[in-house]
């Protein structure tokens, strides 16, 4: 019986390919996988909402530690209170506690709440604001999805640096705040401001001032940029403000 040499070569090549694939599969199966705890640590930050009428935020992951404040399920404008969960820890008796970025003065306050009181969801994007270059960037999986020029706080009332998050978004009734506005968990140096002096990200009625340090701490952007950000950044989106 005659044997086609081309066919034999093809069979050998296929056999070799299958053997290599099998070897790769075996190596992958034998390679130790990363522990589950390492994976869960990488999942934070997450956005969260409160499942109870109110929840106590403690200074440490323990019910016996001092209460920083009670966080209500809804804000005074009836929007749900959004939280930024930075991590988690095991408390006494093995209970799970969540580490929160608190929307209170002073900036950077950390609070701990029981995990059973919070429903979490992953955050898709984050915002980075560079005060020196006066640029706002929206990052998604490490890549810049959107960038725009902004105006920041002037000397004496500089925009605070640190890690914050969007607490609410709304269409402002004041023309000065432009087409759309975001409330953040950051507080301005102006503590006597009515309503607490919250740092906002918002549009503007004075676009010629963009790229300058002229605000009272808020981050102003063009109205077109504010409307793009409305689509990209839900409540709970982390904001990193760097000098």
């Amino acid at each position: 019986m005659a044997v086609d040499p081309d066919r034999t070569d093809r069979f050998r090549a296929l056999s070799t390919l299958l053997a290599v694939m099998g070897l790769v599969g075996l190596i992958a199966a034998l390679t130790p996988v990363a522990p589950a705890s390492a994976k869960s640590a990488n999942e934070y930050p997450k956005a969260g909402v409160i499942l109870q009428t109110k929840v106590a935020a403690h200074s440490r992951p323990s019910s016996s530690s001092p209460t920083i404040r009670f966080i209500p399920q809804f804000r005074s404008d009836f929007r749900p209170t959004t939280l930024l969960v930075l991590g988690e820890a095991k408390g006494a008796k093995g209970s799970r506690w969540l580490k929160l970025s608190m929307p209170v003065r002073p900036n950077g306050t950390i609070g701990w709440v029981k995990a059973s009181a919070v429903q979490m969801r992953p955050v898709q994007r984050s915002i980075v604001i560079d005060l020196s270059s006066r640029k706002l960037r929206v990052l998604e999986q490490g890549k810049t999805r959107f960038a725009t020029r902004v105006a920041v706080g002037r000397k004496g009332v500089e925009t605070p640096t640190g890690t914050f998050y969007i607490t609410a978004k709304f269409k402002p009734t004041e023309r000065f705040l432009g087409a759309f506005a975001f409330e953040t968990s950051a507080y301005s140096k102006l503590s006597e401001w009515p309503g607490g002096g919250v740092v906002g990200l918002h549009g503007t009625s004075m676009p010629w001032l963009l790229g300058q340090a002229v605000s009272h701490g808020c981050v102003r952007m063009s109205n077109a940029a504010a409307l793009v950000l409305k689509r990209l950044a839900p409540a709970g989106t982390p904001i990193k403000i760097v000098a």
């Binding site: 009428t53 009836f78 402002p172 409330e183 605000s215 009272h216």
Partner: protein
């Protein structure tokens, strides 16, 4: 849509709404609500137990608390 005990009355009150519906054999109740004002809608199921709270906020509001 509210998941509760089968064949029980589910009510929703608040923010200018008042609605009720009976849950089906799977324990699901469907209530259609149209809030008339801002506020919190409380959904109660079997045993007057609160199963959900829904905040009703207006899309626009004053931004007076922002420093600008």
């Amino acid at each position: 849509m509210v998941q509760t005990t089968p064949n029980t009355v589910v009510t929703a009150n608040g923010a200018g709404t008042k609605a009720s519906a009976k849950s089906n054999k799977q324990g699901k109740a469907k209530l259609t609500i149209k809030p008339k004002r801002k506020g919190i809608i409380t959904v109660r199921a079997a045993g007057n137990r609160v199963v959900k709270r829904i905040g009703v906020a207006s899309a626009s509001r004053s931004g007076a608390n922002l420093t600008g």
